[in-house]
């Protein structure tokens, strides 16, 4: 959308009927957006870690896009705009987009379509809808804020300034949208189209300035589509049979020494890598976090071990690991 169109649209949503004496409210258009935004409650609640975030519906069957975060460490509870409450399942996530897709057992939900092409450019007016600070509870509509896309740019233009694995374009916003609980909220353009998803809070590590940004909808489109269609599910396929111990992979044989497994769901952090092992040859390092094994989500070391049991020891193992702010695909060759 070019600037001229942006102005016209500003006028349109400022005075959609030309003879209005003052600016018309954003009214129904805001309400339509609010109906598609959900409140998500999960893990957290400790100091500085809010146990809530936002999300938005992306299919009529109850698929919800949200930010991939610690809140999703437990199966989250989702509250729709009408106050209905659902248990949800994480059906897919893409660490490099900081995106997760949840599913609730609901039908005929209102949802946002995801556009193939970017719908906004710098200078375009937008609104952000999220449950920042968990202000809205129950059936209260999510909070709405207005502003402008200040620029469309790469976050990693200054390497390491913002600690995020996301490497694509972002919409930099001139509104203070990225607050606690806002992650996963929707950014809407002046046509009511989804322009992007609010990202997690990011702070410039040197200046301490908080960034207000969103991941553009077109960057999320393919992945969300794949997850909804089942082409990119990270759900563990429970139908796959366990192989006999001697026929399958296991962490030790791959050269992975994990941190001590002391919790029910100890994250799959690598403690050390054995020399001259498949892991060493793939340049895995201590402190790498294993996120996916053959595309399936690893939520704990226990899951890692059982997933490896389903893979023939003569086959390659595809891992997705997080190293600091990088998301890396790694292939372990036996």
């Amino acid at each position: 959308m070019n600037r001229l169109a942006a102005i016209t649209l500003t006028v349109l949503f400022a005075a959609s009927i030309s003879d209005l004496p003052a600016e018309a409210p954003l009214g129904t258009w805001v309400r339509d957006a609010q109906k598609r935004v959900v409140k998500i409650y999960g893990a957290g609640g400790l100091k500085g870690l809010e146990a809530y975030q936002s999300g938005f519906l992306v299919s009529p069957e109850g698929h919800i896009a949200t930010a991939w975060s610690y809140v999703l460490d437990v199966e989250p509870v989702v509250l729709l705009d009408d106050g209905r409450r659902f248990e949800s399942k994480i059906v897919g996530f893409e660490p490099s987009l900081e995106l997760a897709v949840l599913k609730i057992e609901a039908t005929d939900t209102p949802f946002f379509e995801l556009n193939e092409e970017p719908t906004v450019d710098w200078g375009d007016p937008v609104i952000a809808v999220s449950n920042l600070f968990n202000i809205a509870t129950g059936n209260e509509p999510a909070s709405v804020m207005q502003g402008t896309v200040a620029s469309v740019t790469d976050l990693n233009a200054r390497r390491g300034t913002f600690k995020t694995p996301y490497r694509g374009k972002v919409l930099i916003l001139d509104l203070i949208a990225n607050n606690p609980g806002a992650a996963g909220g929707a950014v809407i353009d002046s046509d009511g189209q989804l322009a992007g998803m609010l990202g997690k809070e990011l702070r410039d590590s040197t200046t301490g300035v908080w960034l207000n940004y969103a991941v553009p909808a077109d960057a999320l489109r393919t992945t969300i589509g794949d997850i909804i269609a089942g082409r990119k599910s990270t759900v563990i396929d429970s139908a796959t049979a366990m192989l006999p111990r001697k026929d399958s992979h296991n962490p030790n044989a791959l050269g992975l020494v994990m941190v001590p497994d002391v919790l029910e769901t100890t994250p799959a952090y690598i403690d050390t890598v054995s020399t001259d092992s498949p892991a060493a040859r793939a340049s895995l390092r201590p402190d790498d976090l294993i996120l996916l094994v053959n595309g399936q989500r690893v939520d704990s070391q226990r899951t890692l071990r059982s997933l490896l049991r389903t893979i023939d020891r003569r086959d390659n193992v595809e891992l997705t690991v997080q190293r600091d702010t990088q998301i890396l695909p790694v292939t372990l060759q036996p």
């Binding site: 600037r3 102005i7 003052a22 954003l26």
Partner: protein, 655 residues
């Protein structure tokens, strides 16, 4: 003013990228032409800002103790602000307006729970005032503006304008600390910063939507993070009369706890038997449908409505119980006992400001903060600091100007008793300028010649029975048909009210007559309470309270005519008062054509009045043999007595 407004507007245009466009499309020499629609919007916004700015008030605590914002709501100087803005100042502050003048201001009334305060700016009778809007009609997405004194920048008295939208309406924010509760409030993304507290939020037309007062802050320090809250103007409207009373006012509670049912609906989970709601039949398990004209579907909804109601109000309520829907009226009790509120308020007052030599710790990030609790906007804590540095004593003695002293009377339980006295005076003036005072010349009370009221009429039953009411100084009677009820002792007045007797109209008439003759100073302890609905209906009536022995009497008068429309006599606090409704046809100064005695929501005795005279007391005829009021009365009044049976239990047991 216009320059300010334009500057502001162009700033926002820049953010929309328009300035950049104009630069790229036009030569420097060409005048910029705007789309007519855009120009109209721009002009409209400039006009709204110009309309709104003159009523904005910058509040400064004398002696450099901080400050905040406020908004003028009447030409004679009454302005609203936050309690937490006035509390560091106490009773006197200085206020700047955009006309460039600084006015002395005196405290009028405070609502510590709702964080509202009324102040009065002195020296003019033609202050520019804000036009009050309707915050119930506001919606998320509406354009709005906040005008005020952020960071106390308005040292040139030009307020700061910030623009944005309403992010949410009907928000509930849990009490911060022990007192402040924000219910049914507005949430905005227009910048709200320390110092904006107490200032106005306007809609796009420049109508007042609310009083800004609080922000969500967490780890980012005490600056705007896109979330500001405002007390809705509709809540403020409910409290205006109470604030005008000069009192320290409290909020209302039903005396019940409720929860939201999983399938929706607000259900009572606990109720005080001493509450009026209980007397009106609300029980454990009842579903509350509507209160004060607002449908409630969740506990949060109900909490929101309750947070906007003052202590002592009586509002409409409908509820469903055992399959039946009941429409009724319910009286609210106070959230606090009076002394409890004063005590809590003292606790909420700011600590003495830090002395200059004490190292400052105002790096907000360094302050340990509870992430769950949103930080109330406490300007006394941070706003003060920049102004306090370099000053000598912590609280320099402030000399209160004479014109402020003239309007300041301190008294326990009041923010400023002066304004209560003024309201008492206008009440008694109105009472002495309406029937029956206007009917006969008021005779100065003298020991020699006692005056009395003689009222005749008939009941509205068929067949109608003749009624004679006699009210003298120490004796009064009600005769219905052949039956006479007489009171000649004060204690009997208490009994007739607690018994729900038809003779309950006698103490009401007696109080009226005595108030008329003696005035509020001699009547007993009297004060102006504020305004409240009558029978759940607006307009809000002025309420005067007089304590006479064990009885508390309330006069409810129409705000425009001053005509008394109901007199309520409370005996037992946990029982229904006797309500004497005075119905007139047309002329508010005329004799009431009907007087109607009610207990709860039921009419006990309705009389069509034929005559109402003031006569010498010796001309009245008393029955030779006095009958006991209670005994002779009871058979006729089973219903009323039945209604009070439950209320004799004074134990406040939660069910």
């Amino acid at each position: 003013m216009m320059i300010n407004a334009r500057t502001f507007y162009f700033c926002s245009l820049f953010s929309l990228g328009i300035a950049i466009l104009s630069c790229s499309l036009s030569n420097a020499a060409d005048p910029i032409t705007l789309d007519p629609a855009l120009e109209r919007v721009e002009n409209s916004r400039i006009e709204s800002v110009a309309r709104a700015v003159p009523s904005a008030v910058s509040v400064f605590v004398p002696g450099g103790g901080g400050g905040g914002s406020g908004v003028m709501i009447s030409p004679d100087g009454y302005a609203l602000t936050n309690f937490h803005v006035t509390s560091p100042a106490g009773s006197f502050m200085r206020c700047g307006m955009s006309d460039g003048n600084v006015y002395d201001a005196v405290i009028v009334g405070i609502d510590p729970v709702g964080d509202l305060a009324m102040i009065r700016l002195l020296g003019r009778s033609d202050f520019p005032k804000a036009e009050l809007g309707d915050s119930r009609a506001a919606e998320a997405g509406d354009w709005c503006m906040v005008i005020g004194n952020p960071f106390l920048l308005a040292t040139n008295l030009k307020p700061t304008v910030t623009y944005g939208i309403l992010s949410g309406v009907g928000r509930y924010q849990y009490p911060s600390g022990t007192l402040l509760e924000y219910g049914d409030c507005l949430q905005t993304d227009a910048s709200v910063n320390p110092g904006n507290s107490g200032g106005p939020i306007y809609d796009a037309d420049g109508k007042l939507l609310g009083i800004v007062g609080r922000c969500s802050f967490e780890k980012r320090g005490r600056v705007n993070v896109g979330v500001g809250y405002a007390i809705s103007i509709n809540q403020a409207k409910n409290f205006l009369g109470y604030l005008h009373s000069g009192r320290i006012v409290d909020h209302a509670t039903l005396g019940a706890t409720v929860s939201t049912e999983p399938e929706g609906g607000v259900v009572v989970s606990n109720i005080l038997e001493s509450s009026d709601a209980y007397r009106r039949g609300l029980r454990y398990g009842s579903e509350i449908l509507e209160i004060d004209g607002r449908v409630v579907q969740t506990a949060n909804d109900l909490q929101n409505v309750m947070a906007t109601l003052p202590n002592g109000w009586r509002v409409k309520m409908s509820y469903r119980s055992e399959g039946k829907t009941v429409e009724t009226l319910v009286r609210m009790m106070g959230v606090h006992l009076e002394d409890e509120l004063l005590k809590k308020m003292a606790g909420a007052l700011p600590p003495p400001p830090p002395r200059p030599q004490k190292p400052s710790q105002d790096d907000p990030d360094a302050e340990p903060q509870d992430p769950d609790a949103e930080q109330g906007d406490k300007p006394n804590k941070n706003e003060n600091r920049p102004r306090q540095r370099g000053q000598g004593p912590a609280k320099p003695a402030v000399k209160i100007p004479q014109q402020v002293k003239d309007q300041l009377v301190e008294r326990k339980g009041f923010a400023n008793y002066h304004f209560n006295l003024a309201e008492q005076n206008s009440f008694i003036d109105a009472l002495r300028n309406q029937f029956p005072a206007t009917n006969t010349a008021i005779k100065p009370p003298s020991a020699d010649e006692q005056q009395a009221w003689l009222i005749t009429g008939e009941t509205d039953q068929t067949p109608a029975q003749p009624v004679t009411i006699q009210v003298a100084a120490d004796k009064m009677s009600l005769q219905i048909g052949q039956k006479t009820l007489e009171i000649d002792k004060r204690s009997e007045m208490y009994d007739v009210v607690t018994d729900g007797s038809a003779a309950g109209l006698l103490p009401a008439l007696d109080a009226w007559r005595r108030m008329l003759n003696d005035g509020p100073r001699k009547f007993g302890e009297s004060y102006y309470l504020g305004t409240m609905p009558l029978g759940g209906e607006r307009p809000l009536r002025d309420v005067m309270v007089g304590l006479a022995g064990e009885l508390e009497v309330r006069w409810l008068s129409h705000p425009d005519t001053g005509a008394v429309e109901a007199i309520e006599v409370f005996a037992d606090r946990d029982g229904d008062p006797a309500e004497l409704w005075l119905l007139r046809e047309g002329d508010s100064k005329a004799m009431p054509s009907v007087i109607d005695l009610r207990y709860g929501i039921d009419s006990t005795l309705k009389i069509n009045v034929k005559s109402w005279e003031e006569v010498p007391a010796e001309k009245l005829e008393w029955s030779a043999e006095k009958k006991s009021v209670k005994n002779s009365d009871k058979p006729n009044l089973e219903k009323a007595v039945g209604a009070t049976q439950n209320t004799n239990d004074k134990d406040e047991v939660k069910v």
